[in-house]
Point group: C2
Chain length 388, copies 2
């Protein structure tokens, strides 16, 4: 089956300022928007949808009609009465078209199966012990097959796979024609950010940065309500902006990159010689550090404070550049360190950012730390139906 890359389909939902080439694109964009507006929210009437989305009731009527006929929306059980006559409430229809979201990380592959209302039906996580592309692809196929086997009542209609930038070029050809349904590829930053925007901490926020802290680091950006993708879907490479010219060597081959100071590898370096270090095991090391921080261990707190300096400086640069209202701390390192990380970093952001953009921004932990990557990819995969 055809593989779509770079969420090209989503690019085609860009609004009119973005020079849609066909009027049908706008109708498809409206469908996506109506479905998205139901995620994590209440049932609502056509009139409420029209008001929320700034569309006419007639337009909403047409879109709702299409989506209902296609089986994506249904009338909700009850009907609310306002001052006037009762109006029918609509909601997402569960079941139906199932989708799989896959998170290909450096040490594991997670596949999750969702129904079309994005309720999770099954999950499979397999460790990646060998990094050869062929081996990784076999893990991906196995994980997807496992979740598909767990649910028989409906067919899977699309698969979304998140591939980290550094392996994308090698994995992509190996994934082609391995499944019988459409496949959408994107990168984890975009998936995480979309998940936070649809279901998480960034709901109803227009200008957001989602900081992904793990072995690699990056920034997902919502600008004016939309995912920032850039010309070739590479926006958000904050991890490879230079923090110190000629500084620490980075995995990318450069020197002084943000990632070389705030990636899990840098945290391991910071912990050398400390009792928190579990040599060769980032997960265990960060977990130990996090536990000690929670217990108020002074050496652990001191490490957190040192780690927060380059992170806060690099985030201050992002705050000055992008002027977000919300900074969401995501990724497994943020999940492990939790609120103490946010508290340690915030004063450093304040020290380096201009006063106005600093005051405009609130820093919070991401809410969907379980697996926002698979969830975001499932949403993107599902939307291929809405864009047909």
């Amino acid at each position: 089956m055809k593989i779509t890359y770079c969420a090209r389909s989503e690019r085609s939902t860009r609004n009119r300022f973005m020079r849609l080439k066909h009027s049908g694109d706008l109708r498809r964009a409206h469908r996506v928007e109506v479905v998205r507006s139901f995620y994590g929210g209440e049932p609502r009437t056509r009139l409420e949808l029209a008001n929320q989305l700034g569309l006419s009731v007639a337009t909403i009527g047409t879109i709702v009609g299409e989506l209902t006929k296609a089986g994506f929306l249904k009338e909700a059980a009850g009907a609310r009465t306002g001052g006037g006559r009762p109006a029918t409430q609509l909601t997402l229809r569960g079941g139906g078209s199932l989708v799989v979201g896959v998170d290909v990380a450096e040490t594991y592959v997670t596949a999750e199966l969702f129904d079309q209302a994005m309720a999770r039906l099954a999950r499979k996580r397999v460790p990646v012990l060998e990094n050869a592309p062929e081996a990784v692809v076999e893990h991906v196929l196995a994980a997807v097959a496992a979740v598909r086997r767990q649910v028989y009542e409906a067919p899977v209609s699309a698969i979304g796979v998140s591939l980290p930038g550094q392996v994308e070029a090698r994995l992509r050809p190996l994934l082609e024609r391995r499944w019988d349904v459409p496949v959408l590829l994107d990168n984890p930053l975009k998936a995480i950010t979309l998940a936070e925007q649809m279901f998480g901490a960034a709901r109803d926020q227009d200008d957001v940065i989602v900081v992904n802290l793990g072995t690699g680091v990056g920034l997902g950006v919502v600008a004016g309500g939309r995912l920032l993708r850039g010309a070739t879907n590479n926006a958000g490479e904050w991890g490879h902006t230079v923090l110190e010219a000629g500084g620490q060597p980075c995995r990318c081959g450069g020197r002084g990159c943000v990632e070389a100071y705030v990636g899990a590898g840098a945290l391991m370096r910071l912990l050398e010689g400390s009792p928190f270090l579990v040599s060769g095991d980032q997960d265990a090391t960060v977990a130990r550090l996090a536990e000690a921080v929670r217990l108020g261990d002074s050496a652990a707190l001191e490490t957190l404070t040192r780690f927060a300096r380059p992170l806060g400086l690099a985030l201050a640069n992002a705050v000055n550049m992008l002027n977000p209202e919300l900074i969401v701390f995501g990724g497994w390192v943020s999940a492990a360190l939790g609120e103490p990380l946010v508290s340690a970093v915030t004063p450093v952001i304040k020290e380096y950012a201009l006063a106005t953009p600093f005051e405009a921004a609130t820093a919070v932990l991401g809410r969907h730390l379980d697996n926002p990557v698979s969830l975001g990819m499932a949403v993107l995969a599902f939307e291929t139906h809405l864009l047909d």
Copy 2:
């Protein structure tokens, strides 16, 4: 008259992904979009507009009807015949509603008068010798009065004033109720970027950074076809991202900011002891340097190469973050140094940016170097009519 700040009116044209609150907002957004699509372009038919903007012919018909009735559009002189029946071509109607765009810079105030098709009818530039806010405001009032006196045939219907961030808070209250027409305030970065996007080097480009190099420096960003504003209209403060922690003192009170290395003041410092330096005169100094660069003077070229290093590094960071397809060099320093600046900076961007975003980006000189600030402010001021 009421002063609108931060292009709040333009914010209200945000598309549905941005949660418009009323369906009328979308209609107003369509009006802006139709008018913008004519800037710098050819007359076109309703069908061509519909295809270009991704709207239905019926919607375009309604919008064109409204805009024609309001006197903003007219039928073009000729009618083109395609394969089928001849279709009426539309174009912007000149004259009509005049607007003034004002550029308040550190050493001058420029006011320009435009008709509603953005043809410039008059221009007045006055030097600013004293920086007290009251004095600056008198210069602004004088410049605007001068251009209004030059054109009698139509009334001025709106005034757009660009204020640099550092003086905005002090000037804003002094400008209130000084004119008899609506006034729109914004910052120069946004105005320059809009001018480049509507009339200049960035036309038909969706992902652009406009580097404004002058005494202060900043970045205007077009992301997915739209101006990036951020939560409080402060996006683009690239000039105050940190290039070197604890480095050169900056006018903002911080240390190591990009501006402290690539602003005109930094260039003056770089030229200390050289024959190009005209002490206390940035304009004359940069003009001398530019002339020497053009003549191939080796000391001048060496200075340009040194100046290009921090600039290229800081731009590489922006390229990694934003993944633009186009980098536009704007501002008076770029205008003075010209193509040799672009040529000197490009290899440094390549050195520090990731390969994929670097390859995606093209660097060019800005096209509207005359006064994009007044032009951009005039467009924003005119659009207050379309948003009524």
